[in-house]
């Protein structure tokens, strides 16, 4: 039997290698978007509450449509109710699964970065990157965590991966950051980016 020390060393090596890894999150491959890029890419930025989440067939595929009640608007002029489209969901006896697509439950509070899809309706910019979950701390203060806080995503410009997601910040702090991002010059987009 090998000594525990040896295994400890092996995993130290694994940790080091993991830390040094750089690449893109795959399964779903995302290009890293900093808050300033997200802010300028999105047409609408809103704090919402999920009212209803419903999957249905459309054009041969299963899609989930989430109805959202707008609580606060940071960018754009959305109506009081917003409907977004996300890939996958369960209808009848079939379920389509797409890794990386956020799922919302009725009653859940979120901040979403929203843009038009090629179908003419709305979806979330960068899927998980444009999704921020709102939770309340013990004092009742709203705090936000980006869905990609657990993911590393690829930065097309630096060709590096990064985990610079937003995690557990107060809503007021988020408003300040977003305001600064929206007020900053439009970042030069990576080649080919919409």
């Amino acid at each position: 039997m090998n000594s525990p020390k040896r295994w400890f060393k092996i995993f130290l090596v694994a940790v080091t290698c993991t830390t040094l890894l750089s690449g893109a999150a795959i399964g779903t491959t995302l290009v890293r978007m900093a808050l300033i890029t997200l802010a300028h890419s999105a047409e609408i930025i809103v704090r919402v509450r999920c009212i209803k989440s419903e999957a249905r067939w459309e054009s041969g595929s299963i899609w989930t449509f989430d109805d959202l009640e707008v609580i606060e608007t940071f960018k754009g002029s959305p109506s009081q109710r917003l409907r977004i489209r996300l890939a996958g969901g369960r209808v009848g006896h079939l379920e389509t699964k797409v890794e990386g697509v956020p799922h919302f439950a009725p009653g859940e509070e979120l901040v979403l970065f929203v843009e038009h899809t090629s179908a003419g309706d709305y979806s979330i910019t960068g899927w998980a990157q444009g999704t921020f979950r709102v939770h309340r701390d013990t004092s009742g203060e709203a705090r936000l965590t980006q869905d990609t806080s657990h993911l590393a995503v690829f930065d097309a410009r630096t060709r590096q991966f990064a985990t610079a997601s937003i995690r557990n910040i107060s809503l007021s702090e988020f408003r300040e950051k977003l305001s600064a991002a929206l007020g900053a010059p439009v970042p030069e987009r990576p080649e080919g980016q919409r």
Partner: protein
């Protein structure tokens, strides 16, 4: 995790039990998205007659029927981004470009069908067909397609590629067009891979072109990973696995490349073990080892308030080959299911399909899902193992369960035998 409890293998259990505890929570803390290898799961619709539901609410791992007449159909769209060029090949002639891309797709499939000890063999797949349709991946039509240049409405800014996998929760005559009767719950009936680099400035290169295009992603590595989803995998927490959620950086690839001698070379043992579990070959006499047990809190009172939870949920349990030091298998542990189900949250783990031999031995370690990822991410992976009246109207109560909150505040030690 299988649908039934696995009998413990006494000799392997002894080895596992004698293993010294390792506190490796910091490891997961350094990992961007550390999860054990995992599968998609489907729970049968228990409102249906037994003949259609299979009679159990135990989650069934998503996988293909490898005995489909004519094999699992597969095709790819020859529509490629031209302006800008998004798939870089060494051969730039129109015919040569298509041949080179097709060769990469074929090799990527062969990586998964090249694993010994599974029923997913090259013969399980129908010949790879070319189609000219530029947008064949937008339909759950039972035709399994790779699209390298389709602007699906699912794509938004920042999304480069994804895989869409559809499963059936019942046994049916024909769940989708072009797919014959499904024979088990969780059968994959349609899968499409969509890559759309155009909108985001990404470029992919074939292995032949990668060296001279170091700014490009390796098409073969990305396809190999996506095909893991195609065959039923979710992400692995093993950093060397093809199903680890971080791709090789631009200019790099999953090494070593496949070869005729080692078609599955880019995979790690974790991927292979997972595949042997998804597509078990009952004639495989060498990958028969099982290490199983339960992860339990020292103080059972710590589980108070969690109805129906009698063990740690969830934990990553990993088996390491003593001879090589390689991680050979890892599981998202914490539940089990037998008979008619539903799952119970008893801390159960089962590492299966391990290589057995006179000098073969393993150590295991257990770690919580903590670190930069939220524990809800793990719960999100496992959310499909339960159905109840909240998820489905008129769901029968005896088959209901609710996925509990993920425990994160524990360290683990292996209880000595006795």
């Amino acid at each position: 995790m299988n649908s039934e409890r696995i009998p413990r293998n006494a000799s392997l259990r002894k080895l596992a039990s004698s293993t010294i505890c390792m506190l490796l929570a910091f490891y997961i803390g350094a990992t961007p998205d550390a999860r054990a290898y995992s599968f998609g799961y489907t729970v049968a619709d228990m409102r249906l007659p037994t003949a259609q539901s299979g009679g159990t609410a135990c989650p069934q791992p998503d996988h293909w029927n490898t005995n489909l007449p004519g094999g699992i159909n597969r095709r790819w769209s020859t529509s490629l981004g031209a302006s800008p060029l998004t798939i870089v090949t060494l051969d730039q002639t129109p015919v040569g470009q298509l041949n080179e891309v097709e060769s990469v797709i074929s090799e990527s499939f062969a990586v998964w069908t090249g694993v010994a000890g599974t029923t997913l063999a090259p013969a399980s797949l129908a010949p790879l067909q070319r189609i000219a349709d530029p947008a064949p991946c937008n339909s759950t039509d039972g035709l399994n397609t790779v699209c390298l240049n389709q602007n699906d409405p699912a794509f938004t800014t920042g999304v480069l590629s994804f895989t869409r996998v559809t499963t059936a929760d019942f046994i049916a005559d024909q769940p989708v067009p072009n797919h014959p009767a499904s024979t088990f719950v969780g059968e994959i009936v349609d899968a499409d891979i969509l890559i759309n680099p155009t909108g985001n400035g990404g470029v992919f290169a074939t292995p032949a072109a990668l060296a001279t295009n170091p700014q490009a992603f390796d098409l073969e590595s990305v396809l190999t990973h996506e095909l893991g989803h195609f065959f039923g995998f979710e992400h692995s927490g093993v950093w060397s696995a093809a199903m680890f959620p971080i791709a090789p950086p631009a200019g790099a690839f999953l090494a070593p490349r496949p070869s005729p001698q080692s078609p599955d070379a880019p995979l790690a043992d974790d991927d292979r073990t997972g595949l042997r579990l998804l597509y078990p070959d009952l004639t495989d006499a060498v990958h028969t080892g099982v290490i199983s047990g339960r992860t339990l809190p020292v103080n059972p009172l710590s589980l108070e308030g969690q109805s129906g939870v009698t063990g740690i949920f969830a934990a990553q349990v990993v088996a390491v080959d003593n001879a090589t030091g390689a991680v050979v298998a890892s599981v998202q542990a914490g539940w089990s299911c037998g008979g008619a189900g539903p799952p119970v949250f008893d801390g159960f783990y089962s590492l299966q399909r391990l290589l057995v031999g006179p000098s073969q031995s393993y150590q295991i370690y257990v770690e919580p899902f903590t670190g930069p990822e939220d524990s809800s991410d793990v719960a999100g992976d496992l959310v499909n193992i339960c159905r109840n009246s909240m998820t489905d109207s008129n769901w029968p109560q005896p088959f209901s369960c609710t996925v509990p909150a993920v425990s994160t505040s524990f360290t683990a030690r292996i209880r000595p035998p006795g």
